[in-house]
Amino acid sequence: MKEKLTDSELIAMVNGGNQQAFSELMKRYRKMVARVVIGMLGDTPEADDVGQEVFVRFYQSISSFRGDSALGTYLTRIAINLSLNELNSRKRRFLFFSVKDDEQPLPDLADEANVDESLSRNELIEKALAHLDPKFRSVILLRLIEGYSTKETAEMLGVPLGTVLSRLTRAQDRLKEIVSKLSREMVINTADTTAKVKVKTELK
């Protein structure tokens, strides 16, 4: 395929029946959609399904895509809406079993089973996001991760500007708390692993 075709050119090609062009669009926006969907749902099989659904919906509506907004914004909107739908149906499914899906309790630091030995930055972010209420999570994802403006975030989520700002402040406060706790876990764990290795070496 020719180098660097614009999104509009690729969309026109898809409308003309070129499936290869659609694959190219997917390659361009796959990671962006993944960040939104995995950020919202965690790295789960459902996230992959929702990601696929985002592109299938886009394919179905591609002929009516007028390009009023950027393609990235359009796909993010679909991704966030489908993720919120999935979270709602997940909530309904586990209504009788879960403590409260949106505000998961933080793992106990003393509980060794909860402590992951090698938590990467990405995993840490996903873990931290999972502890947030979905309405806060979506604001963090759009504002801080995807870098949309407050106005764009408000439009995408269908909430007033003030709500986005207050959710952002609350989400940031909660995140600081969560991340501090998770980071401490990591430090404790790293220290613990080092100590274990040292003991093992000494025993040998």
Binding site: Q19, K27, K31, I38, D43, Q52, R121, S183, T190
Partner: protein, 98 residues
């Protein structure tokens, strides 16, 4: 590890720098397969509707058309619908039982 030096109290925005996530391998292939299935099932439904609805309807129309021509009534909406030419006066009379 990066997180050791990260201070969440200072700036939580920096925490998300370089956040990267991706779907499982062969994601594009799975999506394209779903789209192809969707297109195929759409075509199958369209073919089914054509065979079961459109073709019988067309055949019926042709039969009615041919019958109308053979019976010498010509082709008109009335002949196709099986109406006969009756004037208003006789219609009123027959409805009143005369």
């Amino acid at each position: 590890m990066k997180s050791k030096t990260f201070n969440p109290e200072k700036n939580i925005g920096n925490f998300f720098e370089n956040y990267d996530a991706d779907f499982k391998p062969f994601f594009e292939t799975r999506v394209m397969a779903r789209i192809e299935n969707m297109v195929m099932s759409y075509q199958m439904n369209r073919d089914f509707a054509f065979r079961k609805i459109f073709m019988p309807a067309l055949a019926t129309l042709v039969v009615v058309f041919v019958l109308a021509v053979i019976m010498g009534q010509g082709i008109s909406v009335q002949s196709l619908m099986g109406w006969t030419n009756i004037d208003m006066e006789s219609a009123i009379a027959s409805s009143m039982g005369y």
